[in-house]
């Protein structure tokens, strides 16, 4: 390339002061971004990719963070030695950033008009009227329908995808040279993710911006990036054009990442197996109350008349976008929230039982939650966490017998029993999810509801957890209700699938039939968004 690169990161290191010592988060990395190019930084959590991106704008928590070496040249000037005043000219103006979490990166107290206009006034000194006109133009550009009506909306009135679009509009407001996107689609549904990626790619080519795209998802990289930098443990281990990396990975870590997708297929559904959990006409309606006397005028129908059957040794996958009611359905079946309809568990109707009457049944009816960071109490050692259920359901066990059971179950989920007196924060995400699975398994359940157990995990860890769940199921003849928005995981594990939307079943059937021969547009849109990252025509899926 004869033209000098727009951004050149040279030999950059980032270190954090930690209790007297220093831990190095980024270790001598270098990469260039040319004008109009998209570079993807790929790596698992903890690889230092977000820290690298944040250091471009000097957004790290200085002075506890420091740069022992390196330069970041933007249009020839070193950002690391710039004064705070000069930096402000670059931030939000020439280099802008969109973050992962659209829920928290917009100020909930201001309308979206206010938030976009603020940027325009600040950096371009626009007058009120011009700024408003430009805001409308921007909202149009990022594909928000009826932008005129949306100007006065507050962030909570928008969906996640719309919020991310507003974030993008804010980032584009000053026609930046470089857009840094830090996992911009991770918190979104697959269908919305496809739409946002398409939007970003379109904007980039129209405006001639460069983009630094940070993600852990290789599918996205393949779709959007020109070149890829693979990061692990603070180092870039491989750099190259996207095609080459995917066709011919050189470094073992890249190969490991590429091979990490959940694999394997479950056997065909066995309709002769004994049903463990049967739900008939399950409804969860939340009343909408209005007026002085709080009369119920309508209902939010989170789950609206659903029939499910989960059989021993089989997995029923429940898929759908967020807000489709899939988690609500799972919680209703596990009697964590009240519902109407009949829930038969082991042939017994349990929907009328009180909390106390449910207690003996809880042992056979377990839940594994989505977030392994939130579902383990930070104040209890993992032995205490796992034995909590034993103390209730097998109160006669002596402390030593309990300890043996805890050690056994830890071994079964692939953790070292010697670590059982440690606390959750000493474990990685994948290990924590194993602890959460061990907590359910130690009670020897018949039915386990798995609420997105893999979606907070890195791709390669997801595959391991899926393998673990499959082995446990085969060994103990467990019935799984597997809730996920991730169709790759569902395909690897589920025998039967139901597709949900707005509280109702759109399509149900054996897994193979759903994936190979989907009957409805909605299912087809979900599948193409998940496997090919393609958008569906307007109106089929949510925005």
């Amino acid at each position: 390339m004869s033209q000098p690169p727009l951004l050149s990161v040279q030999d950059l290191s980032v270190a954090f002061a930690q209790g007297g010592g220093q831990s190095v988060a980024v270790d001598h990395i270098s990469f260039d971004i040319a004008k109009g190019e998209t570079i993807a930084l790929v790596g698992e959590s903890g690889s230092g990719k977000s820290v690298s991106a944040l250091s471009v704008l000097k957004l790290l928590p200085y002075p506890s963070a420091s740069h022992p070496s390196g330069k970041i040249l933007f249009e020839g000037a070193d950002l690391l030695v710039m004064s705070e005043k000069q930096l402000r000219q670059v931030r939000g103006n020439k280099i802008t950033m969109i973050f992962q979490e659209p829920m928290t990166s917009l100020n909930p107290l201001h309308t979206i008009e206010h938030q976009i206009v603020e940027i325009l006034k600040l950096h371009q000194g626009m007058a009120d009227r011009a700024a408003k006109a430009r805001t409308l133009e921007l909202l149009n550009e990022v594909g928000i329908r009826d932008p005129q009506k949306r100007l006065d909306a507050y962030p909570h009135q928008l969906s996640g995808g719309q919020r991310q679009r507003v974030m993008i509009a804010m980032a584009l407001a000053n026609e930046p040279e470089l857009l840094i996107a830090d996992e911009p689609t991770t918190a979104l549904d697959v269908t919305v993710q496809a739409q946002i990626l398409e939007l970003l790619a379109g904007l980039k080519s129209r405006k001639g911006m460069s983009m630094l795209f940070i993600t852990h998802d290789l599918g996205i990289v393949r779709k959007i990036a020109d070149r890829v930098c693979v990061m692990t443990k603070g180092k870039i281990v491989e750099t190259g054009p996207t095609k080459d990396i995917f066709a011919n990975p050189q470094h073992p870590y890249t190969r490991h990442l590429l091979a990490a997708e959940p694999k394997g297929k479950p056997p065909a559904a066995n309709t002769d197996a004994k049903p463990v959990m049967t739900g008939t006409d399950i409804k969860v309606w939340f009343p909408i109350k209005q007026g002085f006397f709080r009369r119920t005028v309508d209902h939010v129908k989170a789950v609206d008349g659903i029939d499910v059957t989960v059989r021993a040794g089989q997995t029923l996958g429940v898929v759908g976008e967020s807000g489709s009611g899939k988690t609500t359905l799972g919680l209703a079946l596990a009697r964590m929230i009240s519902s109407t309809g009949t829930i038969r568990f082991n042939g017994r109707d349990i929907n009328q039982l009180t909390f106390n009457a449910m207690r003996p049944l809880r042992r056979e009816l377990q839940i594994v939650f989505q977030d392994p960071f939130g579902s383990l109490s930070p104040r209890m050692s993992i032995a205490e966490i796992i034995e909590e259920g034993l103390k209730i359901h097998e109160p006669k066990l002596s402390p030593d017998e309990r300890d043996d059971k805890v050690a056994d179950v830890l071994k079964e989920v692939g953790l070292d029993p010697a670590t059982r007196n440690r606390y959750p924060h000493e474990f990685s995400g994948g290990q924590r999810q194993r602890v959460a699975i061990a907590r359910a398994m130690v009670l020897n359940p018949r039915f386990v509801m798995l609420d997105e157990p893999t979606s907070a995990l890195d791709m390669s860890v997801q595959a391991q957890v899926v393998d673990l769940l499959r082995n446990l199921q085969a060994k103990h003849d467990l019935a799984y209700l597997f809730i996920s928005h991730d169709l790759k995981v569902i395909r690897a594990l589920a025998n039967d699938v139901i597709v949900m939307r707005n509280g109702q079943i759109v399509e149900a059937g054996p897994s193979r039939q759903i994936f190979e021969n989907p009957q409805t547009d909605y299912t087809r849109a979900l599948i193409s968004a998940a496997f090919k990252i393609e958008t569906a025509p307007v109106g089929i899926v949510s925005e």
Binding site: S64, A334, M336, I367, F369, S377, E388, K405, V409, A436
Partner: protein
Amino acid sequence: MSEASVTAGVVPERMPRPFLSPLNKRRLQNFKANRRGYWSLWIFLVLFVLSLFAEFIANDKPIIASYKGEILFPVMVAYPEEKFGGFYAVTDYRDPVIQDEINANGWMIWPPIRYSYQTVNNAIPEAAPAKPSWEYDAKVRCNQYPQGAADPACIVGNWNWLGTDDQARDVLARVIYGFRISVLFGLILTAGSALIGVCAGALQGYFGGWTDLLFQRFIEIWSAIPVLYLLLIVAAILPPGFFILLGLMLLFSWVALVGVVRAEFLRARNFEYVNAARALGVPNRTIMFRHLLPNAMVATLTFLPFLLSGSISTLTSLDYLGFGLPPGSASLGELLKQAQRNLNAPWLGISGFVVISLMLSLLVFVGEATRDAFDPRKTFK
């Protein structure tokens, strides 16, 4: 798995669980890292433990006496005067006649300060309030004793180190007893209000909904009752006393913690690990104790030292106004009131001020260090 694992399971070596969880270890370190708070805690503890044994430090009775071959413990047992040849029901060991009688037939060991908080010094050199004894020379100091400076009672044990108040009672003795009663009052009140406040806040936060709504409205009305008027009314009906005062204050002081605890429980009751515990069938009571209370404990413990110093100053101000402890009790508030009435006797005001401000500062420093210790974002080099 269940049967197989119990019988055939390989027993891995058992490790004793560490006494302190890593989190608590870190907190202890953080607490110690705040040197001021750490030292304040030690000074406060030493003072408090010493004051618990006030009877052995400042008293108008000997600690041990030997009389006609019998070992007596006048500090603990009230011997009638008949025992020493008198006729009163209570022995006044400060009476020279009794002293001579005991010394003639044995010996006695006195505490370092020979006054209790109620003891009136009949031999003050000038009209009460008298200056601290070290302000006088020996002759003046003992001019009221029958034999002047040569009197056997003219000794250091009979000094008034901080002078006397306007009823000729020893200020140092009153300060020591006053410190004890203030701290005890504060501790019991704090413990009581923490217990009630945490329970009430926990129930409200955990169950939410109507429970929360009704309870909150009740608290709003309850805390609008003017405590001072109530104290005045009750003082007209019931005899004032330590426990009546404590009970009355407790009726209103528990409200302080409810808000904090309730907020913590409201926040944490939908945490995933709480839901996970519910899914295991853990009863509500256990969830509240094991999973939610530790969350609220941080806020509560941070609050406690400030609640303690608050209760102490409330007691002092009630005493000052005359609605506190019954007349004659050792109270710091009463000392301040005397100081105000006797501006010519600065030792009253200075003693009262130093003791109260020392006590409150120590507690506030300890409170600060506790807050630091529980702050997860605080880092020390």
